[in-house]
Amino acid sequence: MTLTTQVLRRTPLHALHIALGARMVPFAGYEMPVQYPAGVLKEHLHTREKAGLFDVSHMGQAFLAGDTAALERLTPADVAGLKEGMQRYGLLLTDAGTIKDDFMFSRLQGEADLYVVVNADTKEGDFALIAGKLAGAATLTPRPDRALLALQGPAAAAVLERHSPGISELTFMKVGRATVAGCPAIVSRTGYTGEDGFEISLEGEDAEKVARTLLAEAEVLPIGLGARDSLRLEAGLCLYGHDIDETRNPAEASLMWSVGKRRKEAKDFPGAAATLGPQAIKRVGLRPDGRAPAREGTEIADKTGRIIGKVTSGGFGPSLNAPMAMGYVESVFAVNGTPVDLIVRGKALPATISPMPFVPHTYRR
């Protein structure tokens, strides 16, 4: 018998999740809601039809002070060129140029510091890496005391406007300080569902009040990690540790759009030579022909039966009403429309290399 003592951390909304009847699971060292009584399918569809509220307080929030452009030592994104009031997606790289994590960074109006949000599972390592590599140039201050909510869906703007007048003037990828339900917040017009929506960073002590205020609106349901995963997969968005990790570079991951133009020209990021060269494999979308989902780890074969890759995320898309997957294949097969087979329970399931997102984004640009 093995005794492991793992003390799971709790977000400031833990008591609210329990009160809402959530099924709690361990995730990234936290006790998190995987679903509420409505269930994954209804939560997913509700988010696409009206609005869903997600607790993403487990993610790593921090502020970077000093020479913030020094962050370019670790990311191929254009940090120096980020204008005030804007948020951007970036990749954190290892010395070899593979993907250490993906993250969001923002420059707030009139503020010198950079506000960054990294993944929950990787935050300790990310913060140590940033602090170490930027020592002497910039100082990172993690803010584990802060909470982070996401309000996503077509009704998100109307709902948030009621509690933060003027907030809907923010357009996609814009960010600013605002007051939400009377509480100071950093609000960005971003998310992880492909829907229009907002991410709202709050003082931990204000989180429950703001969450309860938003949940009291008729359009809003609480949404767990289960639906968060199916929503992001339909939107073609990567999940770190599955679709991207330290074995992949930005080009293999089909994330070159996150590499700044200036950075590509200057080739001044870790692993630039390899990333800017030819790639043996590429991340692609996959649409199985039937209704059987192909899960993570499923082998991808060409029509002669030779294995050409592997699924990294796969499931059933409730809005797509069909199965979908993403994975890596040999680059010659990474062309939309290419027929392949997915080896599910020993049987070859026909599928097609397909464009992502699987469900169109509805960002308010």
Binding site: V40, L41, K42, G226, A292, P293, F316, P318, R345
Partner: protein
């Protein structure tokens, strides 16, 4: 006259004459969450007690459905292919998976009855 028995893998089996109907329990359906795909066994397939007989996929994961007793598949509920949500709506009725002609009624008799299964679930 029919009799229902249960497995520790949360399948139910209802015996009527020498034909048995198999499905998953309400407890299993609730644990799985929303079912989106069901793979049924082909007719005339021979299954053994505890052997893989069908697959059910929910929005969360894939799970094998085991034959509670050995026998030959005589019918499959093809309605589930179009409407897999029947498994959640009525797991112990319209959401049945397949029917078996049992090879050995003794295997059926060894399974848990409703009271034993209820106690088993309570202990989980």
């Amino acid at each position: 006259m029919s009799e229902v028995r249960y497995t520790d893998q949360h399948e139910w089996i209802r015996l009527e004459g020498d034909e048995a109907t198999v499905g998953i329990t309400k407890y299993a359906a609730e644990s799985l969450g929303d079912v989106v795909f069901v793979e049924l066994p082909p007719l005339a397939k021979t299954v053994t007690a505890g052997g893989e007989a069908a697959v059910v996929e929910s929005v969360k994961a894939a799970s094998d459905i085991y034959a509670p007793a050995g026998g030959t598949v005589t019918a499959a509920n093809s309605a589930l292919e179009k409407e897999p949500s029947k498994v959640n709506e009525d797991p112990e009725g319209a959401g049945w998976f397949f029917k078996l002609k049992l090879a050995d009624a003794g295997e059926f008799a060894k399974l848990m009855d409703a009271a034993a299964y209820a106690k088993f679930v309570e202990g989980l």
